[in-house]
């Protein structure tokens, strides 16, 4: 009798020890995982805030070596190219996702899904090179449109797969309800499934948008960068990530300050987008399946 109690006591302690150890390891891993983010944010604030000023948003770069000036051209350029990428990307990507979820349960769907995944894995600089060969070499000019197009290729697979996932989350009972009312399947898709999945799709678009806003590689050989203010889509255009690159490796201290400030602006933008996304998901009516 006593021996049994002792044995089970031993086993219980062992179990508790393992339980506590594993919990500790997991918490440790979680903390280590968050440390880089905290450090980055902290460092960005420390280095970025001194460079922040109103003129950063309202003025264009000065002649190199002359302190002051701003990066209005880069902010506007980034906004224009991300907008172009979104306008090109949303219809194609959402259409692709709808096809995959509603009509993609066959060989064609499987192949397409695989291709979309491959596209998502292509390095962004390769996409930049591809657009360079396609548009810049043939036209003989770097253009903001080419930059937007390169970004849209990056944008496409992310949104397509998120759209598909969100469409598949719509319960089957809703499709059945619509079909049972005599709606053809295309109408069921457009009038019932897409509206129900819309908050999720919008979330995906926002996430993809914040992802491409920080990309420099696809713009290197497409939009090139431009130290003058330009809204002309068919000439070289500047973007925040490109200007950060130029300033960060440049020789002037005020450039470094401005590069930090721009990084802070970019991260703040992405953070704000993420918060909006969270708010949208939070208020989203959950669908009872």
């Amino acid at each position: 009798m006593t021996s049994i109690v002792e044995a089970s006591d031993m086993r219980r302690r062992r179990r508790h020890f393992i339980d506590r150890t594993m919990t500790g390891v997991m918490v440790g891993a979680a903390v280590v995982g968050v440390i880089p983010l905290v450090l980055i944010l902290f460092y960005l604030l420390k280095e970025g805030i001194p460079g922040l000023s109103l003129s950063l948003f309202t003025e264009d770069p000065n002649r190199p070596g002359l302190p002051g000036g701003g990066v209005r051209n880069s902010i506007v350029g980034s906004a224009i190219m991300v907008t172009v990428a979104t306008l090109i990307g949303v219809p194609i990507a959402v259409g692709c996702g709808i096809f995959l979820s509603e009509f993609g349960q066959n060989r064609l769907g499987t192949v397409l899904r695989f291709l979309v995944d491959v596209l998502a894995g292509i390095p962004s600089i390769t996409i930049g090179l591809f657009i360079y060969g396609l548009m810049v070499v043939t036209r003989g000019e770097f253009t903001g449109f080419a930059g937007g197009l390169a970004l849209s290729i990056l944008f496409l697979p992310i949104v397509a797969r998120i759209t598909e996932e969100m469409m598949l989350l719509v319960p089957r009972s809703l499709r059945e309800a619509s079909l049972a009312l005599g709606a053809p399947s295309w109408m069921t898709t457009l009038r019932v499934v897409v509206p129900t999945a819309l908050p999720g799709i919008a979330t995906g678009v926002m996430l993809a948008l914040s992802r491409i806003a920080g990309e420099a590689a696809p713009l290197l050989f497409t939009a090139l960068g431009n130290q003058f203010f330009s809204t002309d889509l068919f000439h070289a255009m500047d973007a925040l990530p490109l200007r950060i690159f130029v300033y960060a490796v440049g020789p002037y201290d005020y450039w470094h300050d401005q590069a930090w400030a721009m990084s802070l602006i970019l991260v703040t933008f992405i953070l704000v987008v993420s918060l909006i996304v969270r708010a949208v998901i939070g208020t989203r009516v959950t669908v009872r399946s």
Partner: protein
């Protein structure tokens, strides 16, 4: 409790012991033409199923079920779980084929037209044969009003005043109008479960189908909500033909005029054992298996 007198075209139900499925008079069946042309109906039969087989892939789930559904009557399908009654009812508005790899053999005639004729458009069939599902499934993006109007909009009725009138009529028929008339703009999923199910009934009848199929409409509801739905079914039966699948024998006895008892054999294939006026079925079943089921000896 409403137990109607014999339907005007009562079919001779022999229900001999030993037969696996109920057979209506076969000479009627043989007269059925293959095409979608109109043929003479003896007035009161809303739906006529002939040798319906329902498959999931290779697996036969419902085997050779033939029966006539009488117009403006409530027909209950009872049977233990897995007997194929839900599968069978989904054959009546061609919802079964929506399940991947599922298919149907046999014929179901709606006013003389075989709904399984290759020339027949399944969406048109579903406009005339509505369905209410087990779980309430209002469209979450739509208001109460939009939910009820959904079927009308799907079928391209655009006239606003007509839509408003038909929404009101449907909600009244579904005994929901008094509870929601001030809140028509509120989302449909804000209602309680029982109200949601009545909303789904309103949505189904707003398109004015001839037949309303109900697949265990009360199984997700509490007893009070169940009673409300049973109450409104009597009223609906004045205008619509109702087929209800139910697990609940008391419910079948309370609401239905005719009852069909389905049972899966040892081969797992569901068949119709007996199909008779409800009162006869529950007071004087002809088949031993029916009696065993309704007295609670199995299932």
């Amino acid at each position: 409790m409403v137990l109607d007198s014999e339907p005007r075209t009562a079919v001779d139900v022999t229900g001999e012991t030993g037969t696996q499925s109920f057979q209506f008079q076969p000479q009627n069946a043989l007269k059925a033409p293959a095409g979608p042309e109109v043929r003479e109906e003896p007035g009161d039969v809303a739906l006529r199923a002939e040798h319906v087989h329902a498959y999931y892939g290779q697996k036969l789930a419902v085997g050779d079920v033939s029966m006539e559904i009488y117009a403006r009557k409530i027909t209950a399908l009872i049977g233990p779980s897995g007997c194929g009654k839900s599968t069978y009812i989904r054959c009546f508005n061609r919802m079964h084929e929506f399940t991947p790899h599922a298919r149907v053999e046999g014929h179901i005639y709606l006013e003389g037209t075989d709904i399984y004729d290759p020339n027949v458009d399944a969406t048109r069939v579903r406009q005339r044969i509505g369905m209410v599902f087990q779980k309430p499934n209002p469209f979450p993006t739509m208001s109460i009003e939009q939910n009820v109007a959904a079927g009308l909009r799907f079928t391209n009725i655009r006239n606003r005043s007509e839509i408003r009138d038909r929404v009101e009529t449907a909600l009244k028929q579904a005994a929901l109008w008094d509870e929601v008339k001030g809140d028509l703009k509120k989302p449909g999923i804000a209602l309680s479960g029982g109200q949601q199910q009545r909303l789904c009934i309103a949505r189904a009848i707003a398109v004015e189908p001839e037949v309303v199929l109900m697949d265990e409409p009360c199984s997700a509801l509490d007893p009070i909500a169940t009673l409300k739905i049973e109450d409104l079914m009597y009223g609906l039966a004045e205008r619509f033909t109702i087929v209800i699948v139910t697990h609940n024998l008391q419910q079948a006895a309370r609401v239905s005029d005719w009852t069909g008892f389905m049972l899966a054999g040892e081969d797992g294939v569901g068949r119709l054992v007996e199909y008779r006026p409800t009162q006869d079925m529950f007071t004087n079943p002809r088949e031993d298996r029916t009696e065993a089921y309704i007295t609670g000896r199995f299932g």
